[in-house]
């Protein structure tokens, strides 16, 4: 006989402070949540620190979880909040960047995903200036509106929209560069073979 450990069982086990369940909770969500934290962090080390703090908060606030809705979604929300908190602690200056014009004829998603890995896309987000990165993540991944983002980060709604637009422009530029490099490498390989 075998059975899946349900979220409810996992939560109950952790509430009872059973170490095996606590470890299982780490094991089940650490990989997914590290990706969330990586999107917001400067580097892997910072992301793992945020992840660690996030799990501490998860265990501390576990009694408040009402078993309504997705537990994973709840954990993810905590990780996002921790990431924002981390940003507030570490970023004192809002960066100002000059965004160069990027060609409007954006290449198709299929072309991009066939040439650029998810890991590279994640790196692109990480390389964004902190405020752009936050706004882009909150809007594109975590489904927040500009009004919510503004309230969460203490910025004007218009600033949020502007930052999102700049973030997208930067990402398009990075993608275009990556595509060019990928194409160039492809041509070099063909020439080497030919």
């Amino acid at each position: 006989m075998s059975l899946e450990v349900s979220e409810e069982e996992l939560v109950k086990g952790c509430l009872a402070e059973v170490p095996a369940y606590q470890r299982a909770l780490y094991k089940r969500y650490a990989s997914k949540m590290l990706t969330v934290c990586l999107r917001y962090a400067k580097n892997r080390e910072e992301a793992e620190d945020v992840l660690q703090e996030g799990f501490v908060t998860v265990f501390a606030k576990l009694p408040q979880f009402k078993m309504e809705g997705s537990f994973e979604g709840w954990v993810r929300r905590i990780m996002v909040n921790k990431s924002i908190e981390n940003y507030r602690k570490t970023s004192k200056i809002y960066p100002v960047l000059d965004i160069e014009d990027v060609e409007d004829n954006f290449v198709s998603s299929e072309d991009i995903t066939s040439n650029i890995s998810a890991k590279e896309l994640l790196s692109m987000i990480q390389e964004l200036p902190p405020m752009y990165k936050l706004v882009f993540n909150l809007y594109a991944f975590d489904g927040m509106t500009h009004k919510e983002i503004g309230a969460s980060l203490g910025i004007a709604e218009g600033t949020s929209k502007s930052n999102l637009s700049d973030a997208r422009t930067l990402l398009k530029k990075k993608i275009a560069i990556s595509m060019m490099i990928a194409k160039k490498n492809e041509i070099n390989e063909q020439q080497a073979r030919g």
């Binding site: 006989m1 075998s2 059975l3 899946e4 450990v5 402070e17 059973v18 170490p19 095996a20 606590q22 470890r23 299982a24 780490y26 094991k27 089940r28 650490a30 990989s31 997914k32 590290l34 990706t35 990586l38 999107r39 892997r44 793992e48 992840l51 660690q52 799990f55 501490v56 409007d104 954006f106 998603s109 991009i112 995903t113 998810a118 890991k119 896309l121 994640l122 987000i125 809007y139 594109a140 991944f141 929209k161 637009s165 997208r168 990402l171 398009k172 993608i175």
Partner: protein, 499 residues
Amino acid sequence: MNNKPEDNDIDRLFRDSIDNMETEPSDHFWNKAYDGILQKEAKNYQMKILRWKGISYTLAAAVVALIGYNIYTGQKVSYVEQQITNIEKNQALSSESSSSGSIATNSLKNTSLANSGDQSKPVASLLHNSRNVQPLGATLSSNASDLKALTKRPNRSVATQKSFASASGIYNASANANQPSVATTISANIPTQEANTIAPSVSRAVPMNIIYLENKPNSPLRVTQSLDDAPLAQLAIISDTTTEVIPVERIAPVEPKKNYATKISLSVFYAKSAAFPILKYNGPDTKIQGDLTTSESQEAAYCFGFNVGFDISSRFTIQLGCNYRMYAFSTDFTTVNPIIGESGPYYNLVSSAGVITIPYIPGSSTNPPTSATAIGDVKYSSVCVPLKLKWSFFKNSRLKAYAVAGGSVNVIASDNAMIYCQSNTASNSEVVNVPTMAGNNSVSFSWLVGAGIEFKLARGFSVYAEPSYQTSLTPISANTPLSTYPTYLDMAVGVGYHF
């Protein structure tokens, strides 16, 4: 600002590519995370140990205090005996220069009303006593075991005669009524069975049959229920300044002492345990043993059952019992490697309760088989039949302190595990139920030693607390990389009944 279609495309591109992506944290992260859990576990474990230590020390202190009290009481009585012996010597000396008769003693003997057996009737003893009707010393010296003369200090209220059952205090003792009394610390029990015998709880008590009082008490001396069986004639109280009768009366009806028809007793108990399995690795490498010491943590350990006792003497009892013992623990994340069997790969997880064979790991490929990570909860239970010898080294009417030692035959009842496992090459995980472990002996033997305190309630019932230590003589596992000798520190509480 409305989103352009390509804006939504880029959002979706990133979301679709990254949102379901998983990134394995570094070893540093895992170490830090598990350190936190392990530290918490270690703290919990230390708290458990401290709690057990506290209970053990308290019980040990109580036992030592009881023994100390017993010894101290014995010494006090011994001192009194010495004092009275001195008095007797003085009396003997004075009797040599005297030729008077022993009127007091004769009177006492002639008024042994206690033998009447009529408990409702006030019982009195009359002694013709005056300072001139002496010497009593001659009687005392010739029949010292029957008669002692003590004068209670007048500032001591006779209303506290209840304490005569085990009288203690400063008395003015004199060899006879003519001699000056000397302040003497007296601690003694009035005989409760027959004249000049002592209560069983006091090893060296002073036979104290007559108490001289300097002043006549204002109220009758009362004999409490604790003196039910005492021959009242020998509790005659006289005053050294008057010849009036001082009545001694019962204040409560005497309940006949229950005569136990048998020497059989039955007790039921529940014990909370701390388990410390002793591990012996059957090979040159002790890695597994070391790993298990740090990776297993106790979840629950308890024991409950009953004992039937047979008194072979007033101090020794043989006990035969039956109990159910449970030990549950969790294992830490362990990497298990595939073993190729006839029907495909399987995995062995070595635990202190035996080898857990996991028949499959979900998501693991069979060609080539891959390693996996497993954690789980393990339960090991047994039915035990202990045979014990119980020695009561301290007893009084209410309390008994004892030591117990013996052996036990233990038959395995269940050894199962719920293993949460995950292939190292796949993300899905499952809990696999392993109903029984490989290579465990069905029978093992152990020895035990303990101590306890028993408090008697009414009608043959008693409650007791008994800490004990039990360890296996034979391992529970055979033909496995590890031999496990289960060891338990139990704290049992129970209820007993003596038929």
